[in-house]
């Protein structure tokens, strides 16, 4: 006797604990198998781009913090680079090195969150997340020493950073550099050869390089398909030419290789931080306010600057009409574009793989909807 079944459509979200924010999907199942996914965005839309049009260039820094709230420093950096390019500001070297240290630490923190929540989505409530949060806590404490805030940093200013790092920061940074490799090793021992993780993530949600490039997917997801594309190497900004690091690449294109890639990227980021600490020299951290005042008036024009964020290419497009606030501010957010291939990744997989894939893509709804 055969059982007759028909597809059923389920509405997941917007309030769902495993969608990493307010994200809604209309998923059609045939039994346990997904046959269609329709992502619906916009539940966290706060109109940041519009808000920027009535704020001065420095005030917009506070808006970038709130976009991707697990990588605020990287958002700061991208936006500040766009303003510097638009206004032709020459940044102070010490400020740039501090910017790089802060943003590489933030990349580590963001990847730690990504790994922790990937394993959390697999159903391991708490344990691996606690290990990654323990390390992230150290980074957040360093940010508190630097700029008084842990998430909404607003640390960078056009021309550098707002203030030099205190001695306390250098002390804890050096102990972090010493301790962090052991912590990553521990995390890897816990997870990398775990059979449950193998069976749940290997071969799930596979992307081919062609698909990824055609949909302009960037970041760890693109590199996990075997394309060595990293803006820090391919279009260096700040002082990334001066430091020496590798771009880890995997070619399986599944969730497991995304996880492995993030672990390796954390090690590379630590390498960059170490070199920055060697290169940094005493000096001013931002130009005198005679050169870069609070109210910047860039010449008429527009510019697009992209940096390698923790989730992919994070681009800022600024149009200036010569006044004190941007005429238009547009953000190319990596999370949003990485989500566009959700249907291609998920059709044919099982219900349980849906959340694992979410953890693998590592989206942040604050950045998707802005």
């Amino acid at each position: 006797m055969s059982i007759k079944s028909e597809p059923i459509t389920i509405n997941l979200g917007p309030q769902h604990p495993s969608t990493h924010g307010v994200f809604r999907m209309r998923v059609t199942f045939d039994g346990e198998t997904i046959i269609d996914v329709e992502p619906i965005f916009g539940y966290l839309h706060r109109g940041s781009e519009k808000l920027a049009e009535e704020r001065t260039y420095t005030q917009v820094v506070t808006l970038t913090d709130r976009m991707d709230y697990v990588s605020s420093m990287l958002n700061n950096q991208g936006y500040i680079l766009a303003v510097e390019k638009l206004t032709n500001i020459q940044p102070e070297p010490r400020g740039v090195w501090l910017r790089m240290i802060a943003s590489e630490l933030q990349r580590i923190a963001s990847h730690l969150v990504a790994i922790g929540f990937l394993i959390q989505d697999l159903g391991a409530w708490g344990t691996p997340l606690t290990y990654s949060m323990r390390e992230r806590e150290k980074i957040l404490q360093m940010f508190e020493m630097l700029c008084g805030a842990r998430i909404t940093n607003s640390y960078m200013r056009p021309g550098g950073v707002f203030m030099d790092a205190p001695q306390q920061f250098w002390d804890s940074l050096s102990s972090f550099i010493d301790e962090f490799p052991a912590a990553v090793d521990e995390l890897e021992r816990l997870l990398t050869s775990n059979e449950i993780i193998f069976s749940r993530t290997k071969g799930v949600a596979i992307l081919t390089p062609e698909q990824a490039i055609n949909a302009s997917i960037t970041g760890p997801i693109l590199r996990s398909t075997g394309v060595p594309w990293d803006l820090r190497k391919n279009d260096p900004y700040d002082y990334y030419e001066k430091v020496d690091f590798d771009i880890p690449v995997h070619d399986a294109g599944d969730n497991y290789s995304r996880y492995l890639l993030r672990v390796q990227e954390m090690r590379e980021s630590l390498k960059i931080v170490k070199q920055c600490v060697d290169f940094i020299e005493p000096g001013p951290v931002r130009p005198h306010h005679d050169q870069v005042p609070f109210l910047i008036r860039p010449p008429k024009g527009d510019c697009y600057v992209a940096i390698e964020g923790s989730k992919g290419e994070l681009g800022f497009y600024l149009v200036s009409d010569g006044s004190i606030s941007p005429y238009r501010w547009h953000v190319r957010s990596s999370s949003l574009i990485n989500l566009t291939l959700l249907r291609e990744m998920l059709v044919g997989t099982l219900f349980g793989d849906l959340f694992v894939t979410f953890g693998g893509i590592d989206i942040n709804m604050g950045e998707v909807d802005r």
Partner: protein, 225 residues
């Protein structure tokens, strides 16, 4: 070999079972007898003698002590520190605030004009209910009159009570954070130990006296011929 990865992972969790605890119970921590004695700076015997009830509570694991989380001097807290004597009512802070939540109302004071007191402040309101603690107002203040505070946990049931008005700002404890105040950091300042109630300690430079300013003006005029 199947299962080996699991065992390897479990060995990590097993080792961490015996490592020191890194999580913090907040805001209160449950303590035993020794923890309670230590938090009260007493020996266990004193505790039994003086506070037998507390001792019993601690013995069955019901005693709680307040926990202080580790913080750093640049912490931007839910509070502002404002020095009436330093403020000239220039309203730079109000102009630089991205949310426009600082409200200043002044009138011409008519006295002490050259010492920067052209305006008397009638109203100085900061609506902390809408503030995002970005610190741009502090960065903007040219006279070091406004500082970020270090207090937090100021939850309230009424929005109106979140508005810091002039009287509150003058009367409250002054523990400014060293955010954008390099002069504090030079002195190894720690906001939780010291109280900066004197406005003279809070600035990069002292507010000049009327006599001094007069002298300077006179000299300058002389110099310019």
């Amino acid at each position: 070999m199947i299962g080996f990865g699991l065992i390897k992972g479990l060995s990590v969790t097993f080792r961490n079972l015996f490592s020191p605890v890194f999580t913090v119970q907040y805001p209160d921590k449950r303590v035993g007898v020794f923890g309670l004695a230590k938090s009260k700076n007493k020996s266990v015997f004193e505790l039994i003698k003086n506070e037998p009830k507390q001792f019993l509570f601690a013995f069955i694991g019901l005693a709680k002590v307040k926990v202080k989380v580790e913080q750093f001097p640049r912490f931007r807290g839910n509070e502002f520190v404002w020095y009436d004597d330093r403020c000239t009512a220039c309203a730079s802070c109000a102009k630089y605030c991205p949310l426009g939540i600082i409200e200043i109302v002044t009138h011409a004071s008519g006295e002490n004009l050259q010492a920067g007191e052209n305006y008397a402040i009638d109203k100085f309101d900061i609506d902390t209910g809408r503030c995002m603690f970005c610190g741009l107002c502090v960065e903007a203040c040219p006279y070091d009159a406004l500082h970020m505070g270090t207090d937090f946990e100021r939850g309230n049931y009424h929005r109106a009570k979140l508005v810091l008005n002039k009287e509150t700002l003058i009367s409250q404890d002054k523990n400014p954070s060293s955010w954008f105040r390099p002069q504090f950091e030079e002195k190894e300042y720690n906001p939780w130990d010291s109280d900066l109630s004197d406005y003279k300690d809070a600035g990069r430079h002292e507010k000049p006296s009327y006599e001094k300013i007069k002298q300077r003006w006179v000299n300058k005029r002389k110099f310019n011929g």
